[in-house]
Each structure stands twice: as structure tokens, then as C-alpha cells.
């Protein structure tokens, strides 16, 4: 299967240095490696100190979201499964045959499931981070606590959901006589990368959304488009060449393919292709930390 690795030689270290040099422009203080590492230690230690609150908030989120529904948290898993089932039902005739390479009637459904699982983790973290500061505005105004706790609650909740969904998928796959094999042990790499990418992006957008509320609305549209620009519903190779070139810029492409390789094809995924989204994730996380530092005192002012 053709792969495009346009950003294969991206220099991660260079990108980081570039970011920090950029940060040097600002007036309040110089963000050096030392300041930066102190910031990170500060975030980590306050997150550790408030672990009780973070953990119980995660539990509260899982409990609260479906408190009044009979099946509770089961909906978390049923929703994406149903989505996959619907696409499979509607599109299997058109696209099903194109997902070659596996001798299984449910190949297309499994393909869908892999993509949706990866995409679901990405959007859940991004969208929830987008609104998390607004959700907790009253608490932030009246109680002094480390704000880094808020995105961590989102991250934790989303990861648990994701693991539950993967477990459910395995059971559904087993129903179609499709069983996990050794390459599945590489899945955590994909999970961590997806989460890191979404986390960085989510915090940046979340901070901006506090000041310009249009960011949230705009992102809803962007994510819709992004979904269709990622080979989740259709296989990458059915696209015309021109389109393939454009879509290879999509950082979610290698991530989704990573999931699909493991979950559908049961083969070792392409680790090298992850270099682009990984680098981008690091850059986004650095920007996020920087932005968070700058904006933090002003967040409460505008809430």
C-alpha cells in the first residue's frame, strides 16, 4: 500500500528550539530551558498534589454523564459501535470490497471500528478541552486550585472510555472470528500519540476559546471536515493521486492507519510514519504550555 512520508526528516529538536526562541520575545520573562523545566515540574507536582480531586472528578464524569440513563456508561461504548454498524450497513456494498487484504466478511466493519476508535479518542479530548475552562468557570473564579487539573480530568476520562471501547471491540471482533494477535501490543503507542496530539491541540484551543468563543463553534465545523479528510470510512488508496497528496499532510492519517494496521490487518504498523504526528504533538504541547502560562492569570478575568 502506498505511503507518503513527506515529513519523515522533520527535526524535532530544531522545532523545539524554534518555539523557545519565539517565546523569548515576550515582555514578562524569558522562557529558558530552566524556566521551562521548572514550569513542568510545577505542573506535575501540583497535579500530583490534587490527584485525589482529579481521580474523583474522572469518576464523577463517567458517572454523571449518563446518570439518569438506564444503561449508564455502556452508551460510551454503544455509540461508536452503533456508528460503525450504521456506516458498515450503508456503505459496505460501495466501499466494502475496496478494503482488501483480509479474508473476513466483516473486514469493512472492522476497518471502520479501528478508524472510529482512534478518531473518537482524538475528538473527545479536543472537544472537551475546548470547553473545560468555560465549564469550570465558577469554580475557577472562587477556589484557588491548579488549573492544569482540568485538562488532566478530560484526558483521564477519555483514555478510560477509549480502553473500554477497545475491549468491547475485541469482543465484537471475536464474534466475527477475528482475534487479536501479537502486533496489538503496539496499540498503546497509537493511544499515547493520539492523546498527546489531541491534548496539546485541545489546551491551545481551550485557552483561546475563553477569550474568543467563536473558536469553539469554528472547531466543530473543522472537525467535521477533518473527519472526512481522514481515511476512516473509506480506504486511503481509493482516492485519486492528487487527493492522496493533500491528505498526506493530515497528521491524523498515520495515526488512523496505525490503528487499522493493527486492528484489521493484524500486522506490525509503520512506526516511522508516526514521526510527523509525534513531532507535531510535541510542538503543540510546548505551545500549549507556553500559552497556558501566558493566559492563565487572565483566564479568570474574562470568565
Amino acid at each position: 500500500m502506498p505511503r507518503t512520508r513527506r515529513f519523515g526528516n522533520f527535526d524535532t529538536a530544531y522545532a523545539c528550539r524554534l518555539m523557545l526562541d519565539l517565546a523569548d520575545f515576550q515582555v514578562h520573562e524569558k522562557i529558558t530551558y530552566k524556566v521551562f523545566s521548572e514550569m513542568m515540574i510545577g505542573h506535575a507536582s501540583s497535579a500530583w498534589r490534587y490527584r485525589q480531586f482529579i481521580l474523583s472528578s474522572i469518576r464523577g464524569e463517567l458517572k454523571g454523564r449518563f446518570a439518569s440513563s438506564k444503561m449508564g456508561a455502556l452508551w460510551h461504548i454503544l455509540n461508536p459501535l452503533a456508528m460503525a454498524a450504521i456506516y458498515a450497513l450503508v456503505l459496505s456494498k460501495i466501499l466494502g470490497a475496496k478494503v482488501g487484504g483480509v479474508e473476513n466478511d466483516a473486514a469493512y466493519a472492522i476497518y471502520l471500528m479501528a478508524g472510529i476508535a482512534s478518531w473518537g479518542l482524538f475528538t473527545e479530548i479536543t472537544l472537551r478541552c475546548l470547553n473545560i475552562f468555560l465549564e469550570y468557570s465558577n469554580t475557577m473564579k472562587k477556589i484557588a486550585f491548579p488549573r492544569v487539573a482540568l485538562p488532566l480530568i478530560v484526558l483521564g476520562g477519555a483514555l478510560i472510555n477509549h480502553l473500554l471501547l477497545l475491549a468491547a471491540s475485541v469482543m465484537v471482533f471475536a464474534f466475527f472470528s477475528h482475534f487479536p494477535s501479537l502486533p496489538w501490543i503496539a496499540l498503546p503507542v497509537g493511544i499515547i500519540l493520539t492523546a498527546a496530539f489531541a491534548f496539546g491541540l485541545g489546551i491551545i484551543l481551550g485557552v483561546l476559546n475563553v477569550f474568543v468563543r467563536d473558536v469553539g463553534q469554528f472547531m466543530l465545523v473543522v472537525l467535521q471536515l477533518w473527519f472526512w479528510l481522514t481515511p476512516i470510512v473509506y480506504p486511503f488508496h481509493v482516492l485519486p493521486d492528487a487527493m492522496q497528496t493533500i491528505i498526506s499532510y493530515n497528521p491524523m492519517l498515520p495515526v488512523v492507519q496505525f490503528y487499522q494496521d493493527i486492528m484489521l490487518y493484524n500486522k506490525w504498523p509503520d512506526f516511522v510514519s508516526l514521526q510527523y504526528p509525534a513531532t507535531l504533538s510535541i510542538v503543540l504541547l510546548l505551545v500549549a504550555v507556553f500559552l497556558f502560562r501566558r493566559a492563565s492569570p487572565e483566564i479568570v478575568d474574562v470568565l
Binding site: 519565539l22 517565546a23 520575545f25 515576550q26 515582555v27 498534589r49 490534587y50 490527584r51 485525589q52 480531586f53 482529579i54 474523583s56 472528578s57 464523577g60 458517572k63 454523571g64 446518570a67 465558577n138 469554580t139 475557577m140 473564579k141 472562587k142 477556589i143 484557588a144 486550585f145 483561546l208 477569550f211 474568543v212 500559552l291 501566558r294 493566559a295 492569570p297 487572565e298 479568570v300 478575568d301
Partner: protein
């Protein structure tokens, strides 16, 4: 050792507005961006607090109080200046913040406690105390979404104050919850203060400011206007509010020799020329007044310009600044109108000085309406100072001479009110169904009427008096719990269209109950006391049951007599009336079967029962309910037992009973049936009193 807890040094908070939010973002990345406008919520505020000190922050809305509190508690970052706190801060800005509605109270203590920065182990240790202090019982283990706002406040306050902080910040949140918990909360805060915590709170209640605080800080438009003693700052604040409406006003403050603070404000369009406190009789100025002495305040004002309307207000304050009394000529509808230039207006305020010993002040105000914010001509705080001394009354404390007298009595016998409490302590009637408003007293057509548990209306106090009204109120419409429990059960068994006989009917309540419960039934009531009988008739009238009752004035006893003389209960004099025995009852009732006979015949119950034993089994009532009396009334120590064995020997069966000593009212009671079919009837079990707690205390 007074340690400095909080030091606020020239802090300020500015909220800039940018022409676009992108300018704000650009500024983060170091671009030199000018904000479009700036709003300083707080600027240049400095103060310090020592341990054990209580400071109130006052000011109008938008004065910057909340912003200042938030900067001290750390949620808002100051733009300039520094806040230094030594030790733990606890800020109660809103109760119940951070609670998860799905979690139980206990889980929320862990959850929200974590948010407040407490450690796991710490919270686990505090849990029993929090549960105890919140006093929400089993709700502690139910989801918070099921809580009332009061319960929420209790839990939140308990959590917020579980650990003693060095600095406690309280925004006006303690106005939630019931007064019991408010009181408890304030005590908790005082406890902290006594242990050395500094308390900083925001309030609008000026009376609590004077009471609770050592110092008051007044903020206005973000600036600190005053920082000083409570009376000084609060009076200044009041004058300042008046000033907002009155640009020509000026404020003067000075502290008098005795420590009283004089604050004067106003436009001076009308000015007080003189203010004196005089003895009413001699008209001489006084500065020391005896408790109860008649005095008057003489105020003379002069207008410098024509005034449409003038109101004069006067207020008396005690040493702590609490208003003891205050009113004005707008409230008394005596305001003056159409005052001309240079006219004098004289006010004389006469009163009897029923104040407690101590120092008091008089404040006056000249305005154009009842509130001094509309137009304030002159408002002067604490102008006249006078001392009240107690010359000839027994020592008392407080600020009011209420003319209270003590009366005490000692006795071993139970008074009526003590009996009322004893009867009301019986729980037997608790589960008998009740109408809404049962036990309440209402006025109907000019008379007080009390509603019984079954909806029957009776003349309030008609049966024995006010203490019985209390019993009926306390028991929600019952007066003899044991007897009523049994009567209520029997009403499920009596047949329609039958007759009830009530001997010693008095207020005829049981007959009325019978008539209400049993369709097409009749009653025959016998009562020797004319006043008591009148009560019974009135009660029947109130419930439209008169037409179903036949009334007789007669004594009850063992023999039938034309003319029997006995002392009548209410009149206390001999009365000649016919005396009835069971034969008379049968004859007067005619052929109708007697379903229920209720007999409360002051001590002659045994004789009456004997007259019943002379009649054949077929002529006996189906059920009887007999009150048996104490030996001081009946003359025999075995009346109760004798009555019971006589009934058994007649072939009846005692279904339930309690002796005089076991009664929660006064008399013993026997409930019996004479028809074999009823012998197996299961009646509810009544509770029994103990002899030394009963009316006659086992004597």
C-alpha cells in the same frame, strides 16, 4: 503574641479591554499592544491583619470587595502590589462549589475536599467530625442532588471549616440555611478567631459588623476610603450613601470625650439649632436618667431656604451601637409641609425611659421623607449622650426595662398544666388518622373553635379550660390518647342505626364522634351540671348534630330517685335533680338497642353497674366504656377492680383496661363487651403510665 497573618501592599487589579482579542494574544507573544481602555476594579489598597483579628469589608456593589477577596484568596492575580499570607487560607466565597451532584455527601467530602487542597488521609481523619457537624443524618450517604439547599449549605460549611485556617475569608454566604445552623456557623467562626485565626469577611449587614468586628474597611470605586473602628466606618458609610444622592452634602466626623463618635452630614438647608434632653416635669436638662423617668428630647430646627416637606427622625442607640428605638414624623404622619425661609420648627419627643442601666446616645435626622437617602438636610449621629441608672428597681441587665415579675409556687400535686404535659407525652393517638389543621384553634363567628382529629369542631377551652386546649393542640386533635385509641378501634365494629348513651356527657365529645362515625345513629346524653351541658349543646350545634341527640339534666347512681341532691362541679353548690340508674336509661331510651354506653360518673360507677346487673342479659348494652375514679372521689381503693369483676360476673368480658395509676389522663378505664360474639375482638394495645408519673402519683 499578635502575629501578622495577612499583609496586603498597594495591590491593584485592572481589567483592560482590547480593540480585538487578537491584540491580547499578540501581547502574550511580546508585541507592544495598547489596551483600548482600562478599568481598575481595585487600586492601591493596603492593609494588614493580625491573628485573632476580625475585619469586615464593606462598600456598595461594584466597590471592589469581591475582587479584593479573590486576589487575597489567590484566584485572581493582582496587576500590581503584593499579597503576603503566612499560613493556610480558607475562602468560603460560595458554599457547595465543586460538589458533584451524583456523588454522596461522603464522596463529595473526598472530592470537593481534594479541590480545596486537602490530602486523602487528612480528609479521612476529618470525616467523622464533618459528618457530625453537618447534622444531615442518613443523607450523608445519599447523592447530593437529592439535598435541599439547606442540607447542601450544612455539608459545604462543615467541609470548608473542617480545618482551622490561619486566615478565613467569608463572603456573605452565611445567610443560607436555618437560624440554628447559622448560629452554629457563627460559633464555629468565633471559635477559629479565639484560637488565633484572622477572619476577613464581606457583609452588607451593618448590625453584624458592629457586633463581630474589630475593624472595618470601607471600599468605594476600588479605593480604600477608611480603615478604622466599626462605629466610625459604618456611620461614615451611611453618610456616604446619603451623599451619593446629595452633591451639596458634607461629612464631618469627630470623636467625643466619652468615646462616642459624632458624624454629621447633610445639605444644612434646614439646620438643628438646639438639641436637649430634659426632665419632663422640671424641664431641666439632664444627662443622667433613672430607669422609668419621664423625659423629653427638645429639638429646634431652622430652615435657611423654603422647604416643601420636613421629616424629623430620632434614634436611640446603646453603647455598642445597636438601635434600641427609632422612628420619625413620616411614620407617625406628622411631617411638616410648606416651611418658609427662616422659620423655626420645634419638635418635642416625650418618652418614659424604660431602658436598662448603661450609656445611650440620641441621633436625629432632618430629611424630606422616611429614608435619609432622598434628601438629607442634616443627619447627626450620637448628638446627645446620657446615662441610665437603676435607682429603685431590683437589679436587671439588658437594654429594656420590661416590667417583668417573677411568680413561683411549690407543690407535690400535679397542676393542670403539668397534667397537660403528662397527657401530651402519651403517643397512643399518634397513628389515628387526622384531618389537616387538627388541633388548631380558629375563630368562627366570634367564638374560638378547636378542630379535633376527626374534623369535629368543639368550643376551645370549653372542656375544662385552656390547659385542655393545649393538650388537644399538642396531640393534634386528641384529649385522652389511651381512651381515644380504644374508642377509635371500636368505631370500626359498631352497627349503623344504633344508639349511644353518654352518662356524664359534659362536652359530649364521644357522642359526637359516635354520631359522625356511625350512619343513622342517635345519642342520649345525661349531664347534671347546667354549664357543662351547655358546652355539649354548643358543640353539637357547631357540627349540626343537635337533632340526633336527646339531652337530660340528671345525676347518675345506683338507684332511681325523683329528687337527688349533690354538689355540682362548676357551680360548687347543691343541686336537686332526678337521679338515673340503668333502669332509667333503658326506660328513657325506649326500645332501641344500646350499642355503646359511655359512663364517666364521678365515683358512682360501681353503684351504677350494680343497677345494670339487675337487668337481664338481653337488656345490656353491646359495648361499655367506664371511667373508674380515684379513691379520693369514689371512696374506695378497689373501685376499678370491683367494677371489672362485676362486669365479668354479669357475663361480660373486659376487652381492655387501665387503672388510675396507669392513666395518662386522670381516671382509670374499662372497655367491656356483653355479646359473646364480641369477646374475641382484638383491640389495639394501649401504653400504660407509671404510678408516680400519673395524676394522683400513686397516692
Amino acid at each position: 503574641m499578635m502575629q501578622e497573618i495577612l499583609n496586603v501592599a498597594r495591590i491593584g487589579k485592572c481589567y483592560p479591554t482590547y480593540s480585538s482579542e487578537f491584540s491580547r494574544f499578540a501581547r502574550w507573544f511580546g508585541m507592544p499592544v495598547k489596551s483600548k481602555s482600562e478599568f481598575w476594579a481595585v487600586r492601591d489598597v493596603s492593609f494588614a491583619m493580625k491573628s485573632g483579628e476580625t475585619v469586615a469589608l464593606i462598600g456598595q456593589n461594584g466597590a471592589g470587595k469581591s475582587t479584593l477577596l479573590k486576589m487575597i484568596s489567590g484566584t485572581v492575580q493582582p496587576i500590581e502590589g503584593k499579597v503576603h499570607v503566612s499560613g493556610r487560607i480558607s475562602a468560603i466565597l460560595e458554599l457547595g462549589l465543586g460538589f458533584n451532584a451524583e456523588f454522596t455527601g461522603r464522596q463529595n467530602v473526598m472530592h470537593s475536599g481534594g479541590l480545596l487542597g486537602h490530602f486523602d488521609s487528612e480528609l479521612r481523619k476529618l470525616m467523622p467530625w464533618i459528618e457530625d457537624f453537618a447534622e444531615i443524618g442518613e443523607h450523608f450517604d445519599l447523592p447530593v442532588r437529592t439535598y435541599s439547599s439547606g442540607m447542601m449549605a450544612r455539608l459545604a460549611f462543615a467541609l470548608a471549616t473542617a480545618v482551622r485556617p490561619e486566615l478565613l475569608i467569608v463572603d456573605e454566604v452565611l445567610s443560607v440555611g436555618d437560624s440554628y445552623f447559622q448560629h452554629k456557623s457563627f460559633n464555629r467562626i468565633r471559635e477559629f478567631r479565639d484560637q488565633g485565626a484572622a477572619i476577613l469577611f464581606v457583609t452588607h449587614g451593618m448590625s453584624s459588623v458592629r457586633e463581630l468586628c474589630d475593624r472595618v474597611i470601607l471600599l468605594d470605586k476600588g479605593r480604600m476610603i477608611k480603615d478604622g473602628q466599626p462605629d466610625e466606618v459604618v456611620d461614615y458609610y451611611n453618610a456616604m450613601i446619603a451623599e451619593k444622592e446629595n452633591s451639596k452634602l458634607s461629612i464631618e466626623q469627630r470623636r467625643g470625650k466619652e468615646g462616642w463618635l459624632h458624624t454629621t452630614s447633610g445639605t444644612r438647608e434646614v439646620k438643628m439649632v438646639t438639641a436637649e434632653l430634659l426632665d419632663s416635669v422640671s424641664n431641666l436638662p439632664v444627662s443622667t436618667v433613672g430607669v422609668g423617668q419621664a423625659v423629653k428630647v427638645l429639638l429646634i430646627a431652622r430652615a435657611s431656604v423654603p422647604i416643601d416637606k420636613l421629616v424629623c427622625g430620632v434614634m436611640i442607640r446603646d453603647r455598642l451601637g445597636h438601635v434600641v428605638w427609632g422612628s420619625n414624623t413620616a411614620y407617625t404622619r406628622q411631617h411638616e409641609e410648606g416651611i418658609e425661609q427662616f422659620e423655626y420648627i420645634e419638635f418635642e419627643i416625650t418618652f418614659k425611659c424604660d431602658l436598662g442601666p448603661g450609656s445611650y446616645s440620641i441621633t436625629y435626622a432632618l430629611t424630606d421623607s422616611e429614608s435619609h437617602t432622598s434628601r438629607n438636610f442634616e443627619w447627626s449621629d450620637n448628638v446627645i449622650i446620657f446615662d441610665v441608672i437603676n435607682i429603685d428597681l431590683p437589679t436587671f441587665f439588658g437594654t429594656s426595662a420590661l416590667g417583668v415579675t417573677f411568680n413561683s409556687r411549690r407543690s407535690f400535686s400535679m397542676t393542670e398544666w403539668a397534667r397537660a404535659a403528662m397527657t401530651a407525652s402519651c403517643q397512643d393517638s399518634l397513628n389515628i388518622p387526622k384531618v389537616p389543621r387538627a388541633g388548631q384553634v380558629n375563630s368562627e363567628d366570634g367564638i374560638s373553635v378547636q378542630t379535633m382529629h376527626n374534623g369535629l369542631k368543639v368550643v376551645a377551652g370549653g372542656y375544662h379550660g385552656a390547659w385542655m386546649t393545649k393538650i388537644i393542640r399538642d396531640l393534634s386533635g386528641h384529649h385522652e390518647p389511651q381512651e381515644e385509641l380504644l374508642f377509635d378501634a371500636l368505631m370500626n365494629h359498631v352497627k349503623p342505626g344504633t344508639t349511644m348513651i353518654e352518662l356524664g356527657a359534659y362536652w359530649a365529645y364521644f357522642s359526637l364522634w359516635f354520631l359522625k362515625a356511625v350512619p343513622n345513629s342517635n345519642a342520649l346524653c345525661v349531664e347534671p351540671d347546667p354549664l357543662n351541658l351547655q358546652i355539649g349543646r354548643k358543640n353539637a350545634e357547631l357540627n349540626n348534630l343537635s337533632h340526633r341527640i336527646k339531652w337530660f339534666e340528671a345525676w347518675v347512681g345506683g338507684t332511681e330517685e325523683e329528687n337527688h341532691s349533690a354538689i355540682c362541679e362548676t357551680l360548687g353548690e347543691l343541686r336537686n335533680l332526678p337521679q338515673w340508674n340503668y333502669g332509667t336509661v333503658l326506660r328513657q331510651n325506649g326500645a332501641a338497642p344500646i350499642e355503646f354506653l359511655h359512663c364517666d360518673a364521678q365515683g358512682v360507677e360501681l353503684e351504677f353497674l350494680k343497677s345494670m346487673s339487675n337487668h337481664s342479659a338481653g337488656e345490656r348494652p353491646r359495648f361499655i366504656m367506664i371511667s373508674t375514679h380515684h379513691h379520693s372521689i369514689s371512696g374506695s381503693r378497689t373501685t376499678h377492680e370491683d367494677c371489672a369483676s362485676l362486669i365479668e360476673s354479669m357475663g361480660g368480658k373486659v376487652l381492655a383496661q387501665h387503672s388510675v395509676d396507669e392513666s395518662y389522663s386522670g381516671d382509670g378505664l374499662i372497655v367491656a363487651a356483653f355479646k359473646e360474639a364480641d369477646f374475641g375482638l382484638a383491640l389495639p394495645v394501649i401504653s400504660l403510665n407509671t404510678a408516680h408519673d400519673s395524676l394522683f402519683q400513686g397516692a
